[in-house]
């Protein structure tokens, strides 16, 4: 597990590139969706709310609005994951650097390699948790897509506005409106995990530097005392 994480962390530029590509693809999809929206609103209200082909166009616009944010957030999550992995690589190099320097010290002055702190083991897990939550959110949003298309692919004036309590249309609307707050929460919870992962990784770097500084100070003091 540890070795797998180490080799994965070294591939951080790949994750950053992939994340940025996802954001660019999301921009293109967003531009297409904006164009579809412009086509829809080019018609007067009565035509918009009655024509079947325009209902389908609106369904396409509304469904994109539901899933596209999660896709964008996944792209940003991959960039943040890449940053966390870069920090993981920095931590490993600092540890190796400390080991290679202290290996040259006399045995009585060498404090030895400290055990890996819990935070160092924890931050990759926190990052993964953030990814899992965002991927789950995207899958959930995509699964909601069918309901969104099915609901909006109806005439607003003829079917959606006169929908009665207990009807399939209102049940679909309830599912859509009831799910969106959950999806938003999941999205920001995932981002919170990713930022926490970065913070924990930075804390590990600070602790590592502090440990190395203290070890060096002790070494200098011991050497200075021995010097005539």
């Amino acid at each position: 597990m540890e070795k797998m994480l180490q080799s994965m962390m070294k591939k951080f530029p790949w994750f950053i590139g992939m994340g940025f590509m996802i954001v660019i693809v999301a921009l293109i999809i967003g531009a297409i969706n904006a164009g579809n929206s412009a086509n829809y609103y080019a018609f007067d209200k009565v035509t918009r709310e009655t024509r079947a082909d325009l209902a389908l166009l609106l369904a396409s616009v509304e469904s994109t609005i539901v899933w596209l944010p999660y896709f964008k957030f996944l792209g940003v999550a991959m960039i943040l994951g890449g940053i966390t992995m870069a920090l993981g690589v920095i931590i490993q190099i600092l540890r190796d650097l400390g080991n290679s320097v202290m290996a040259r010290w006399p045995a009585d002055l060498n404090p030895g390699t400290p055990e890996k702190p819990m935070a160092a083991k924890l931050f990759p897990m926190i990052m993964m948790m953030g990814w899992i939550l965002l991927i789950a959110g995207l899958i959930w949003a995509l699964s909601l897509n069918g309901v969104v298309v099915s609901y909006w692919d109806h005439s607003i004036a003829g079917e959606l506005n006169p929908a009665q309590p207990g009807s399939t249309l209102l049940q679909q609307l309830a599912v859509i409106q009831g799910t969106l707050p959950w999806l938003n929460t999941l999205r920001f919870l995932g981002m919170a995990f990713l930022f926490t992962g970065i913070t924990v990784a930075l804390t590990v770097i600070i602790r590592t530097l502090q440990f190395q500084e203290k070890a060096l100070e002790k070494f200098v003091q011991a050497r200075s005392a021995k010097a005539p």
Partner: protein
């Protein structure tokens, strides 16, 4: 764009016209053009904003990515320097 295009259009569209007038706007009218602007600009601006944020993050990531190379070089230099300092 949000400030320059959307804010004045939104205040003109929602603030000046009654709902009945807005609903009755015919094809090609100025009101429908305003509605069009209000509908499509936000859909384009949101991913564009995201691209901006993502660009900042990629910048931060690139800065962090430079650190391992610098540390690698430092390790190599330190390995050579320590014996010169009297540490065997």
């Amino acid at each position: 764009m949000g400030v320059l295009a959307l804010a004045p259009t939104a205040s003109a569209y929602w603030g000046i016209n009654a709902k009945a007038v807005r609903d009755a706007a015919p094809v090609g009218s100025a009101l429908l053009a305003q509605l069009n602007t209000l509908a499509w600009w936000p859909k384009l601006l949101e991913p564009l904003t995201f691209l901006g944020v993502a660009s900042f993050m990629v910048g931060i990531a690139m800065e962090f990515a430079a650190i391992p190379h610098i540390l690698d070089r430092r390790t190599a230099v330190l390995t050579k320097a320590l014996p010169l300092m009297g540490v065997k």
